[in-house]
Each structure stands twice: as C-alpha cells, then as structure tokens.
C-alpha cells in the first residue's frame, strides 16, 4: 500500500508542478515584474507556468502581486475561496508579505491576514529571478506533499 501511494504521490505531484496554472491577477507594481517574468526574457513557460487563467475556477495558484488594500481585501479573499482545491498562494513582494513600507490606515499588513500563504518573496518589487525562485520553492514544497495529508481529503473525511 505504501509503495502504491508513494508512486502515486510522485506522479500526481509531478503533474501538478509541471502544469500549474496561475490566476491572471495583479494588484500593483509587482504585477509589472510578474508580467516581465512571463514575457520573452524570463519565459515562465519553461516551468509550465505560462498559462494564466482569468477565472479563479481554473487556477491552482494565486500570486498576490502588490499591496492589498482594505478595499481590495474582500475581493482577494473571494477569489481565493472561488479557487478549487488543491490551491496555493505566493505572496509576492514586501507589501503582500508584511505591508512593506506602508504601515498606514489603507494597507493590509500582509496578505496572510486574510488567506494562507505558502511562499513569501521579499523585494520591492522582487526581480523576475526572485519570483522564479519562489515558484520553484513552491514546486519543491508540492513535491513533498502526500495525498494522504492533503487538506481537502481531510475535509472530505
């Protein structure tokens, strides 16, 4: 049984990391660097990540690229809720990670106040190489996942 699940895990995780569809979702400055990462020079399709879906229903990953304001926070939360499990979150940039330079009335001090974050990427804005590093870190994390521990399996049980 253990051999079967381990083999299955490897196959499933390989498939998940090889064709992960991010949500086409940008907030602020970091979204410009995210676009640069997807464009010709950095070419995110090398990692099977180029297919941005405009609908949260079809995406596996939400890259929160930019500052999340108090007015935008309910929208981000709703988008996350609309995504189908399994789903992952990358907080790109200082603002999404911890509020960045904006410690004020308007900005949520880190997107992890409203949704669970898998990988944080520092930088204001992070370079495309940093975003790629963050994505590969997420891939490593997914490769260590097991179907037996999956959150949605526990939810079903």
């Amino acid at each position: 049984m253990g051999v079967v699940t381990t083999t299955l895990d490897t196959a499933v995780n390989w498939a998940r990391t090889g064709a992960m569809w991010p949500l086409l979702f940008g907030l602020a400055c970091c979204a410009i660097e995210m676009m640069a990462t997807q464009a010709s020079d950095y070419d995110l399709s090398r990692f099977g990540m180029e297919l941005n879906r405009a609908s949260p229903r079809q995406s596996d990953l939400i890259i929160v690229a930019g500052r999340v304001t108090r007015k935008m926070a309910p929208v981000v939360r709703q988008l996350y809720d609309q995504m189908a499990s399994p789903k992952w979150v990358i907080a790109m940039g200082d603002c999404a990670s911890c509020g960045g330079v904006y410690n004020n009335y308007a900005v949520v001090q880190g997107v992890d106040e409203i949704i669970p974050v898998d990988v944080y990427i520092a930088g204001c804005p992070p370079r495309p190489e940093q975003l790629i590093h963050g994505i590969l870190t997420l891939h490593e994390k997914i490769k260590g996942d097991s179907l037996r521990n999956a959150v949605y399996v526990k939810e079903l049980a």
């Binding site: 410009i32 464009a39 930019g66 330079v101 904006y102 004020n104 370079r127």
Partner: protein, 424 residues
Amino acid sequence: MAVSHVEGTSVGAVAQESTWEGNVEELRGLVSDRALTGETMLLNMGPHHPSTHGVLRLLLELDGEQIVTCLPDVGFLHTGIEKNIEAKTYEKGVTLTDRMDYLSPMSNNMVFCLAIEKLVDLDVPARAQVIRVICLELSRISSHLVWLGTHALDLGAMSVFLYAFREREMILNMFEMLSGQRLMGSYFRPGGVWRDLTPDFLPTLEKFLDYFPAKIDDYESLLTNNPLWIDRTQGIGVVEPEDALAWGMSGPSLRGSGVNWDIRKAMPYSGYEQYDFHVPLGEHGDVYDRFFIRILELRESVKIIRQAIQKLPGGPFRSQNRKFVPPPRAELGQSMEAVIHHFKLWTEGFSAPDAEVYVSVESPRGEIGCYLHGTGGNKPRRVHFKTPSYMHIGALPVMTKDHFIADLVAIIGSVDIVLGDCDR
C-alpha cells in the same frame, strides 16, 4: 456578475445580495431610469478583470450589448502614499513617489523633486538636468512599451506583448546600472540625481538607440496597417477636443483629440526648451489616433535622448549646497564638517519654509502635478498629486457612451491608465 434589478425576486437574486453593497435605488440619478425598472442590465466589471489594467471596477448599464452608462469605482489600490509622505523627511519621500505610477517611476520622482527644489530654492547642475531628461525619456519609452504590449494583448495580438517586453528589459537593465534597481530606482533626488552615470551606461544606451527604431517599425508592421487592428480601433471612443479639455484629460490622450498641449513645450522644466522635438497630434480623437500618437512619441523620445547625449556636460551630478545635499562618502573621512552635514541630513533632514508650491511635468500618461506645502520644519504639511489616470478614468463614461461592451476594452487600453497612479 449581473445584479438583480428587483430585490428578492428569485433565489439567485438573494444569493447576489450578499456581495452587492446597497441596492439599485442608491443608483438613482447615476444610471438611467430604465435600469431601475429592469429594462436595462447592470453588469459589474472588475476589480479582478484582465483587461481593466489593474484593479478598476466599472459598473455598466447595458442595453443589449450597448453601454448606456459606465460608472467607474476607484480606490481599490488606495495606499495612503500622500499621507505617508507627510511622516517622512523630504528626501525619504522620493522613495514613496516611485510606487504611485509604477510604469514610469522617474516622472513621479521628477515632479516631487521639482516641487522640493522650488520650495527650498535649490539649484540643479546642468549635468543632472540632462541626465534627468535621458532617464525621463527612457521611462517614457518603457512605459509606452508596457502600454503597447497590454493594449495589443487586450485586442488579441499576443506577439506584440512579447516583442515590447523584450525591448523594455533592455531599458530596465540600464536603469539597474544607474540606480541598482530595475523599477523603483528613486534615482532622482532633490538637487540632482543619486549617482553619476556609470562608465558602461552611455555605450549601452547608444547601442539601444541604434537598435530600437527598427523595432518600432516592427510594431508598426504588426499593427498600424493591420485591417483587424483598424477595425477594432478607428472611430471607437471618440472624444471631441472640447470634451477632452472639459474632463481634464492630458498627455497623449488629449493630443489624440488634436489639442496641442504638452507640458514639455508649454511649461518647460529640466531644460526641455533646448531640445528639438515634435509633439504629435491626432485628428479624430479615437482609439487609433491615441495609439498612433504614442508610437510617434516613441520615435520623438529616441530623438530627444540622442540630443541629450550630444549636449551632456561635465561637472557635478548633484547640487553642492550642503544644507540640502549630503556630501560624498569620500569626504567623510577627511572633513569634520562633512560628517556633521551627513549626520544632520540623514537623521533630521533639511527644513523647508512654510509655503506652498505646485509644479507639473509631462509623464507618459499626461500631466502629473505635485502640490507641496512645507511647515518650516523637516516634513511637509501636505502633499497632493494630481494624476492623469484619475482624470482619464473620470472621462471613461463620455468615451464609452453607446459603444459595444467589446469596445470598452479597447477604450480603457487606449487612455493608458495605471491604477496606482489613480488611487495612490
């Protein structure tokens, strides 16, 4: 997401109410009376929509596919930058201005530095002024390239996006040479620029200027005479010159309607009066004219940068006035006075008089203005930015009236809005 017209008519309508803040009665006077009876449909577009260029929300009233009313809802990216600057010294404030209009941070730096320099009457050496012109025009090119890529992408031309970003990367690499950062360099500082040009900057720039005009021809061969592109853009989103002025439009969007207004010509700053360049004007005020003007501006910017390289003088790159500008690092080991200036400027900052100034510059999107009110101390009492994207979003209802909803995407793209610029 369609909003129900009559409350509580069906289960679906009840489910929608949880996300709909308020009821349709609150829109009386904003939408036509037909929307209140349910004859026309209210449709919510954004804030998460790939073609609103950020987090813009539009409430649309549709008669079939035709737009009756378009109500923009801004503020989803309101960051409180103006308020944050009030808590910082003048030089530290420059860092925050980068993050307003994040496609052309240099223009924001420029207008804020100009305001400070006017407030405290600080000189800017000739070399710094020419370096600033080079950087401003480079950021105009890089901003127009993002606009071109995303505008074409919205209308279905994917390859233009990839080409435009290829050239943009070269400009960002040059910005990195100067400031150490690709986007948010904070390269302009009160009294000049942060560091002198690096030795490899000018050769790289000249190589780029030789390479880039042929690439503009490439973009044009993909779009300018493309029948699909012309069908989607000509006669769409027409703004009459009077309307454009009345709605406070500026920059290429205003010049698309044929109004000759460019701050670089009308109220020159940083020595723009010494450069020989044209201000391209449109005739029809439609999406195509606004597109074509920006393409011509790319060529004009190349021309300006070439002239700037020709006239780049020697001398200091930043003012030598030690009351406002910290001394170079090398002096700190030799001069006690330099240490004092350095300490004072990096802890307390400099003081500005209790007076108010307003300056404006021509950003790639239009007129960006800065109102700055000093207190006599080291922090400003009030900073306010008048930004072009806010005005252009305000003019969207005029431009989109009676157009099809598919044309809305073309119109939003053509005025080149940046929500960070609008909401700040």
